[in-house]
Structures are given as structure tokens and as C-alpha cells.
Amino acid sequence: MGIVDLTSMAEGQTTLRNEINERLSKLQNEISDYCFQCAKCTSGCEAHKLLELEPHKVVALLKRGLIDELVNSDVIWTCMSCFKCRERCPQKVAPVEILFALKNMAVASGKQIPGKYTAMLQSVLSIGLIQDVQIVSTRDNKTKKRDDFGLPGVSKPVDAAKFQTAITKLAVEKV
């Protein structure tokens, strides 16, 4: 099997979408109710200081069922997964997990895969790692390879085809 064409990932993804939908409804119905909009999450949010992400508003919008609006907005991609909101929420709401579910939904609906995410996924599908071995530079501009340090070969999936089959299932088809 070749590497999947990720641009057509939205096709045949109904099962995956249903699954994320289930996750989102659970977050909406069972968890967002606990949020009392204290905004403690936003006060410490790493992305708030720089990019105006407001995790407490994300929770509020989810509670009102505005899932499509959230899935379509760029702001969900500004979260840097620092987990401060999850750590500090007095109600154990974990906005960061809501954001993961929303981003998953955006990808599964073929809406947006920003930046280098596609390249990373392609790399995982083909060699098992997010990038292949790099040539690096020293402080005085000499180039060095992994072998130059006597390091052993990098651990990667042994049977690439089997590995790919399993991962591709998760990426594009129903499980």
C-alpha cells in the first residue's frame, strides 16, 4: 500500500467522524456544565498571552452547541498543548482536551490541516517517525551525522507494510 493521499482523507471517514462527535457530545453534555466561567484557564493560558486564545470561551461555545463554528475557526490551532488549563481548572473541565477533539474533527471533516502537520503524518506513515535522520551543524559550522557520534541505527518499525496498514486504518478508514 502506498502512502495515502491525505487531501482525500475526508472520504469514507464517517466512522471516525461519528466517534469524534460522540467525544464532543460527551464533553458538551457531561463536562461543560461544570464550567462556571471563572476564566482561570484563560488567565494562565500560554496561547492567550500571545495569540488571544480564550479557553473559557471555547468551553462556553461548546456548551451552547456551536461546534461547527469552533471546528471552522483558526483559533483552535493556536493552543500549544501546555496543559495549564487542564491542570488548574477548579472544575476539572480540561479545555485542552476539548480543543484536541475540535481539531480532530476539523481534520476528519477535511476542513483544515494547517502547516506541517500533513508532512509529519506522511512521514509517520512512511517511516514511523515524524522526520528522518538529519545532518546537523556544530557551533563552528561543521556538519555532523548521527554515525559520527557512534550512535546505533535509529529504531523504526521493522515491517513497514504491516505498520502502515494499521496506521492507515486509523487515518482514513473505519476501525
Partner: protein, 290 residues
């Protein structure tokens, strides 16, 4: 010797060689035997924004590979450590998901029963090897060195998953550095994020986060900035100049891995610790020259 399977992840073995070199050099001196295992893949954490189920599966298969060797897992990258720990928790507490994951793992003749322990550099040194043992091995104390530590978000949060250090007041690195003779002081930005997770889609903003933190550290007069994460190190060390430009600051902050400093304190020659690969101005520390 205590044996651990080494789980290298993606970033360390493909570009952050200084971390791997110093780990492989230093840990055996403290009676840790690292075993290389074939077949590992990405832990899945970087894929989490795209597909959480895939992230979980990737972690499960790596845990299964380690379990097949009957070895506990040493995971030097905090991102991998979180991903594997979270998966461990799911596999132990959610039977439905465990069966589903194991069903998929069967295609690679794998399964996971949840029997292994996962450690990171900081708890391996602090809790498993132990401070006393490290203390006895110190040959060249890092006298007077003023150190700022950076743990990395994924190592300290979320504590609900079970993290190796405290989420709001992590002190294990400080304790280690103290027995190495260094002076490790807290600073207001200590728990702030490096921004690395934004590199994939908002690289400028990622660099701004890095620059902002490092600028504060520099202003406070620290000699050196110490980290334990290949993602964070890539930001603070490898991309320091760019990070400085992003916040209009001239950054000249030496950044080293904890394992590199530890090696120097244990008397390892600097050539064996990958120090030539640190792109930040570590020369001004005059480490290992005495």
C-alpha cells in the same frame, strides 16, 4: 546494573544528538544499562491534534514492544513520556479500549498487558538512581554556576496522568543540580512553555514564546539554562538566535541538557558529551576546561 529499554522517540534520535550522546555516556556511570529495542515508532503525541486515536495506538504499540522485552522503559522525551503514560492509564482503566487496541496490535503480533514502568531522565536520576549515589560520583563540582531550569510542559502537567515531578513547584532538577555543586534558583517564568508545539503551524509565534522566556532568564543574570526535552532544547538552543530576533533581543544564553552538565560534574570529557552541538554560546561557561 539496572536495565531499561531506551525509547528514543523521533526528535532526539533524528537531530538532537547531544541529548542521546550524553545519556549514553553518563547513565552507565551510574549503573544504568540501556537496551536498544528494534521496531519503535513515533509515540503519537505530535499527531494528537490530528487524530487522538492514532496517537493512542502508536503509544500502545511502543509499550507492547517494550513489554515483549520484559523491560521497563526509559523515555528521555517529556512528550513521549506523557503520551506513553496516558496510554498506560487508558490500557489499565478502560477495558473496552484496551481490547480494541490489542485487537489492532495483533496485526503486528503485539499485545500490551500494562506491566511496565515508564521513567524519564529526571526521575531516573532523582528517584531511581538517587541523589546520594550521584553525590558520591561527583568529581568536578559545578561551583558557583547559577542555573535556571526548564522542565517542559509535558513533564509537569497534567498531574492527573501521573507526572514524575510536581506540576506547580517542580524541584527535582534543582536538587540534582545542588549536589553537582551548582546554584539553582527559581524564577517567575520557570513554568512557562517553550512554544514548540506551534512550530508546525505558527512557527513565528513559537519562536516568540521561546524568545520571551529566554530574554527574562538572561535579564535575571543566570549563567546557564538547563533543559531535559529535545523539543524544548531545539527551541532554546538550536533556534536561539531566531527566537531572539523575533522578540528584538540579543540572546546569548548558554543552554545545555541536564545530562551534559551531569557528565561534566562526573568528570566526563566535554568531547564525549556532544557539547560541540549546542549552538548557544556554551563556550563562555568555560565548562570542563579546568
Amino acid at each position: 546494573m539496572t536495565k531499561y529499554a531506551l525509547y528514543p522517540g523521533c526528535v532526539m534520535p533524528t537531530e538532537q544528538y547531544a541529548y542521546e550522546v550524553s545519556i549514553r555516556e553518563v547513565l552507565p556511570l551510574l549503573n544504568i544499562d540501556l537496551v536498544d529495542v528494534e521496531g519503535f515508532s513515533c509515540c503519537g503525541e505530535p499527531m494528537k491534534s490530528m487524530n487522538q486515536l492514532m496517537a493512542l495506538y502508536l503509544s500502545a504499540r511502543n509499550l507492547a514492544l517494550a513489554e515483549r522485552q520484559d523491560l521497563d522503559l526509559y523515555v528521555p522525551c517529556p512528550m513521549c513520556h506523557l503520551s506513553l503514560s496516558e496510554c498506560q492509564r487508558v490500557m489499565k482503566s478502560n477495558t473496552e479500549m484496551r481490547d480494541r487496541m490489542n485487537g489492532m496490535l495483533a496485526s503486528e503480533d503485539l499485545q500490551y498487558n500494562g506491566s511496565i514502568d515508564i521513567v524519564h531522565t529526571v526521575d531516573l536520576l532523582h528517584d531511581h538512581i538517587g541523589i546520594e549515589k550521584i553525590k558520591k560520583r561527583v568529581k568536578k563540582p559545578l561551583a558557583g554556576l547559577k542555573v535556571a531550569t526548564h522542565y517542559g510542559c509535558h513533564l509537569i502537567r497534567p498531574s492527573e496522568i501521573g507526572r514524575p515531578v510536581d506540576s506547580e513547584n517542580p524541584q527535582k532538577m534543582e536538587t540534582i543540580l545542588k549536589v553537582l555543586g551548582a546554584e539553582s534558583l527559581d524564577y517567575p517564568e520557570k513554568l512557562d512553555c517553550c512554544g514548540a508545539m506551534l512550530s508546525a503551524n505558527l512557527p513565528e509565534s513559537a519562536l516568540a514564546k521561546t524568545g520571551q522566556k529566554l530574554q527574562k532568564v538572561q535579564e535575571q543574570g543566570f549563567d546557564v539554562f538547563v533543559d531535559v526535552c529535545p523539543w524544548c532544547h531545539r527551541m532554546f538552543d538550536s533556534k536561539q538566535v531566531k527566537a531572539g530576533e523575533t522578540v528584538a533581543a540579543k540572546l546569548e544564553m548558554p543552554v545545555v541538557y541536564l545530562t551534559q552538565l551531569l557528565g561534566l560534574a562526573l568528570g566526563v570529557k566535554k568531547e564525549k558529551l556532544g557539547l560541540e552541538l549546542n549552538l548557544s554560546p556554551v563556550d563562555k561557561l568555560k565548562l570542563g576546561d579546568k
